[in-house]
């Protein structure tokens, strides 16, 4: 099993969720994060003091999937989250040893 973790632009959440649902992924977890990268931030001005805001609001999506589904999930996210403009974000994939559904105690693939 893998966790696919993606950093995306916030307004892309609904599209990504729909894309995942379309390929049969029915669970995911979303975290509000701030991203620092190539995308330039903005400047806020308060009474003459300028503040460069370099950390931009992003969403982190984590989806646990069985290993064979990984590519499909990565592709789905990659295409749904893409605007083609700088700052679209990243997808990272890493392996997990175990998964447990707390409610039932089921483990691994069936727990996802």
């Amino acid at each position: 099993m893998k966790i696919v973790m993606a950093i995306i632009k916030p307004f892309k959440l609904d599209e990504v969720r729909d894309a995942l649902t379309a390929i049969g992924v029915h669970g995911l977890t979303v975290t509000e994060v701030k991203g620092f990268g190539r995308q330039k931030g903005h400047t806020e001005i308060y009474r003459g003091a300028e503040y460069a805001v370099n950390f931009l609001p992003k969403l982190k999506i984590e989806v646990a999937v069985s290993s064979d589904q990984t590519d499909k999930v990565v592709d789905a996210i990659a295409s749904a989250a893409k605007t083609g403009q700088i700052g679209d974000g990243k997808i990272f994939v890493f392996g997990i040893d175990r998964a447990v559904r707390i409610r039932t105690g089921e483990t691994d693939a069936v727990a996802l």
């Binding site: 001005i45 308060y46 009474r47 003459g48 503040y51």
Partner: protein, 456 residues
């Protein structure tokens, strides 16, 4: 024959042909119920300016970790100054000083005859406000005494100990506010005698608080992180609520300074509204041109600048004068808050000096230009100004260019005394208990360290 409603009473009497007055008539012989109604209301309005008005205006501008400490300052000052005003402040400001302190010192501060509000009762009257009960006048003036020190807090936001703040504000209120109020409005105040025009407190309240703020900023030093960290306001919605309540409450401040519900109050209210709007627009458009965007903080700062600048002028100027003062204040205070401050490098964090000091000075001087006898003809609303100088022509537009100098004299006296006294009080407190919080407290936020509470 003492009558509450002499009109109605005697009319009735006449109409009925009954000439003997009814016994109930003896009640409170001199008070005008309309004037009293307006002054009761004005008192509530000016209190609203400080809590929650100013508390929110400042509270929204600091970082979230300091918001409770900031709003607490306004609230605690309200409580503290209320008690001090009862104990001694009112007496020092609004009674005659010479009988107590002799002719020299007595010219600069009121006496002790009304300590603990001695003599204030159901039938008493302050000679400065003859148509309303003294209790109303005392409380109305108390709300001015409250807001003035609270304004100073903008200068040292995010870094003063709460204990030091209480000591500072208590001492400042008694040693600076009361005397300066006495100079300008007191029965034998020397600036009053000199003919300085200050309708509602531009000198006493705003210049006084503004310069004290500047001294605080200089003595206490800059906020940690200034220039490197993001110190942006954490919630300008709060600040906008605060600015709005300041605006609304200021009707009590300026139109209330007529101490009557009359045409002079009406003119003061109109002037206040006009100058405030003009200043808000002026700041907004200048900022829009200079920085590319009209900000919320900009327009509300401009409006407050307008309120400040029109304060000394409000009951003396025509609508055109109010418009001019507003525009000047909007532009002038934009410059002081965005350029002057950076030029000299002091950290007047929320621009107590930049808005109240500079705006107050602009207003005081322009009062000398735009004050018209036509607006405040024979009997000036604020009895403080009821002097020979006033009875004649008022400002430059009336052909009295000298008034501008008189105004500058008032400004200068206030600047000098307030700056020195503030400096001394600060230094004494710093030696005794220290003014500034520990570095870690400043870093982690005053809310938790000083008050044990946070806004999560």
């Amino acid at each position: 024959m003492k009558l509450r409603h002499p009109f109605r009473a005697s009319l009735a009497a006449l109409a009925l042909g009954v000439l003997a007055a009814s016994p109930a008539l003896a009640d409170d012989p001199k008070f005008d119920s309309g004037d009293t109604a307006w002054m009761l209301t004005s008192t509530a309005l000016v209190l609203l300016m400080t809590i929650p008005g100013l508390a929110l205006f400042y509270g929204g501008m600091v970082r979230k970790k300091n918001v409770l400490a900031t709003v607490m300052q306004s609230f605690a000052i309200t409580c503290l100054v209320t008690v001090l005003w009862v104990v001694i402040g009112y007496s020092l400001a609004f009674t005659e000083g010479k009988p107590f302190f002799g002719d020299t010192l007595g010219a600069y501060v009121g006496g002790l005859s009304q300590i603990m509000l001695n003599g204030m009762g159901i039938g008493s009257v302050n000679p400065l406000a003859k148509t309303i009960p003294e209790s109303v006048y005392m409380t109305y003036q108390m709300t001015f005494a409250i807001i003035t020190p609270a304004l100073i807090c903008g200068a040292f936001a995010d870094r003063m100990k709460f204990s030091a703040l209480l000591w500072f504000m208590g001492l400042w209120s008694v040693l600076v506010y009361s005397p300066v109020a006495h100079w300008v409005w007191g029965p034998d105040g020397f600036l009053n005698d000199a003919g300085v025009l200050d309708y509602a407190g531009g000198t006493v309240v705003h210049i006084n608080a503004g310069i004290a703020g500047l001294v605080c900023a200089l003595v206490m030093g800059k906020r940690a992180g200034l220039g490197s960290e993001n110190l942006a306001p954490h919630n300008l919605v709060l600040s906008l609520i605060g600015a709005s309540l300041l605006w609304v409450g200021w009707f009590g401040f300026n139109a209330g300074s007529a101490v009557a519900a009359n045409a002079n109050a009406g003119m003061a209210m109109a002037a206040t509204q006009i100058a405030t709007a003009a200043a808000g627009l002026a700041w907004m458009f200048v900022e829009w041109m200079a920085r590319g965007k009209p900000s919320v903080l900009g327009i509300i700062s401009g409006a407050v600048a307008g309120l400040v600048a029109i304060t000394p002028a409000s009951g003396f100027v025509m609508p055109g004068g109010a418009l001019a003062i507003g525009v000047a204040a909007g532009i002038g205070c934009y410059w002081s808050a965005t350029t002057l401050k950076h030029m000299f490098g002091y950290d007047d964090s929320l621009d107590a000096f930049g808005v109240h000091g500079v705006g107050g000075i602009i207003g005081a001087i322009l009062t000398g230009v735009f004050a018209r006898e036509a607006v405040n003809p024979a009997v000036p609303a604020n009895p403080a100004t009821n002097t020979a100088a006033v009875a004649a022509k008022m400002g430059l537009l009336d052909g009295n260019a000298g008034q501008i100098l008189t105004q500058c004299y008032g400004v200068a006296c206030t600047l000098v005394y307030s700056a020195i006294a503030t400096f001394v009080i600060l230094k004494v407190i710093d030696l005794a208990i220290g003014l500034r919080v520990e570095k870690e407290v400043e870093r982690d936020g005053l809310d938790l360290a000083l008050h044990g509470e946070i806004v999560p």
